[in-house]
Amino acid sequence: MKKRIGASDSLLQLGVLVGALVLALLVGAGLIGLARANPITAYRAMFTGPVSGRYGITESLVKATPLLLIGLGIVISFRSGILNIGGEGQMIAGSLAGAAVALAFPSLPAALLLPLTMIAGILAGAVWGGIAGWLKARLSVNEILSTVMLNQIALQINLYLIRGPMIDPQEVAYGTGCPQTALLPRSIWLPRIIRGTRFHWGLVIAIAFAILVYIFLWRTTVGYRMRASGAGPHAARAAGIQVENYQILAMALAGGFAGLAGVVEVLGVHHRVLEGLSGGYGFSGIVVALFGRLHPLGCIPASILFGMLTLGADMMQRAVQIPAAIVMAIQGLVVLFVVGSDLLIQRPDLLRRRPTPAQTPAATGRSAGIAPGNGKEVNG
């Protein structure tokens, strides 16, 4: 499938990633200047905050947790040749289903309720992702568009539920009406790894899953078939692989991971569902997956890096009043630069501006380095 990567190739890939990040940060500095602030002061707050002291480090890891889980799901879907933009909606679906189960059976023993809550979240996310997979496989509905729509739908269902049927009875009793659910039973809150911080066991769960996803994709038959479907759907079909079924499975798995991210965020951080819980994680998860070179283990450092960046932006906002929204703009640039530099990784000869014989058939035109086979799947 994938050609063996030599040491110089890995170096080039790492160089491209670092280059993309540095370039994005440079443009970001320009944007900060546009926001009438000093980029150096702003970046100092942004980069020193997350690494100085217990608060910064643990909060970065708290933010890395959902990023890693969603990123893993996106790795599975991209590797299978399907673009999952629905992390937001799937995360919301997972958090709602998990909370609904936990709030419905508060008297169950924690040993039973905790796994039930997590499974409910995973299943809800899997269904939400699976819908898009099914629509693509059976009705050729473009999965990018359907997942974007499913995000909006999940967002509104979330608002409806936490304003209405699932609102915290106390909010109604006190007449404050803040849109959020009641606190989940304390017995199933994820324990904190370091006392006095919000750093919980979710990250350990996520890292364990990263290893499992690696084994699944590279050491099992199903994983192999999924990657084959992504790398070349026609060849895979010729080899008797039912590509469509694996695409549905890939979307369900991706949704399941996002759903788990939602439940873990509820059980580990907020202990309830509230507005804006997903907070752009679904999109940042794409950045993590790309930055991890679509490798589950690569996502671990990538998620920590972008967790730090996200926290750093929050701290910058507090310190020098530059809106944290800038981190989304920087991440968007990272995406653009990483996928934009794909050509340079595939065709380093272009850097040297020397004409070469044809390397790829005309019809392919895909960017194998980033998302195998996706170029073909756009117009469906």
Partner: protein, 310 residues
């Protein structure tokens, strides 16, 4: 219904529907050219956000909504240029680069809004201009001829786009580049230049669509003012089978449903607000499920062009 006649309600729904179709028409017709040339620009939503903001800020600072529209078109064109560079020159995977562009615009508009404004205020916008004579026709007048110029302009762009696409040399080149780029190249058409032009045009029109939301309709700006309209506009291109008339029908179908939903709220019919908001998104998925067949898609859509590979 307290004083509103049944006929009045229907006229109201239809007139609102025509008005709400405007941003879809601008953005979808632009995206149609982009996709016809072979480039799938998913960054439309983000470009619309930036267009909406640029239009609003310019109108607020200069007092001229016309300058606002120009600024929005300019910003949209620049963002289209960025998308063209990434997807045509750098041959990046178009779905992901579109999402990257969307994230960039989303973050940037949020940043600029908070830095330069930070609160909700209103700017100068366009008032309605009643078409002489026609606007006084009963029923038809209020539905079609009592809007602002942007609404008329969007409707006029439908036949104009049709003419450009099917009856001009440039339109022929666009279609050739999107279906058989190798053949077009052999005949001396600069494939990538045409694609650049189309993506920039698409960006400019998405910017214009964004400006309609601020200076053409609400006269204010809020976070997430586009509310997924850019993505729906991309879906409408599929739904409209890459043709101006199909896009017009799709836009009207959507905006009429939206108008119906708004009027349901105006008339105080009890219905959870959130479900009314969900309606267009569910409809988009349903529309894609029933309407899309690959056959109608430009065959080179999503595929970067490499000359030496031919």
């Amino acid at each position: 219904m307290g004083g509103i006649s049944g006929q009045g309600v229907i006229v109201g729904i239809l007139a609102t529907g025509i008005r709400l179709a405007t941003p879809f028409l601008f953005a979808s017709l632009g995206e149609m050219f982009s996709q016809r040339s072979g480039v799938f620009n998913l960054g439309l939503e983000g470009i619309m956000m930036m267009g909406a903001f640029a239009g609003f800020m310019t109108s607020l600072k200069t007092g001229s909504p016309w300058l606002g529209v120009l600024a929005a078109i300019g910003v949209g064109a620049i963002l289209g240029l960025l998308m063209a560079f990434i997807s045509v020159t750098m041959q990046a995977e178009q779905g992901i680069s579109g999402i990257g562009l969307h994230m960039f615009c989303w973050g940037l508009s949020g940043l600029l809004f908070r830095v330069y404004l930070g609160f909700i205020t209103s700017c100068k916008g366009f008032g309605p201009w009643n078409v002489p004579v026609l606007s006084s026709i009963p029923i038809l007048g209020p539905i079609l001829f009592q809007h602002n110029w942007m609404v008329y302009f969007a409707l006029v762009l439908v036949p104009v786009s049709w003419f450009v696409l099917y009856r001009t040399t440039w339109g022929l080149k666009v279609r050739a580049v999107g279906t058989t780029p190798q053949a077009a190249d052999t005949l001396g058409v600069d494939v990538n230049a045409i694609r650049y032009q189309c993506v920039i045009l698409g960006g400019a029109m998405a910017g214009l669509a964004g400006a309609f939301l601020t200076v053409g309709q609400a006269n204010m700006y809020a976070d997430n003012i586009t509310a997924g309209r850019g993505f729906i506009a991309v879906a409408l291109v599929y739904f409209g089978r890459w043709s101006p008339v199909g896009i017009l029908l799709g836009s009207l179908l959507f905006s009429m449903m939206n108008a119906l939903q708004l009027w349901i709220q105006v008339l105080g019919i009890s219905f959870p607000y959130e479900f009314a908001v969900i309606l267009p998104y569910v409809m988009t998925i349903a529309a894609l499920a029933v309407a899309v067949r690959r056959v109608w898609a430009p065959t080179a859509l999503g595929k970067p062009f490499r000359r030496e590979a031919g």
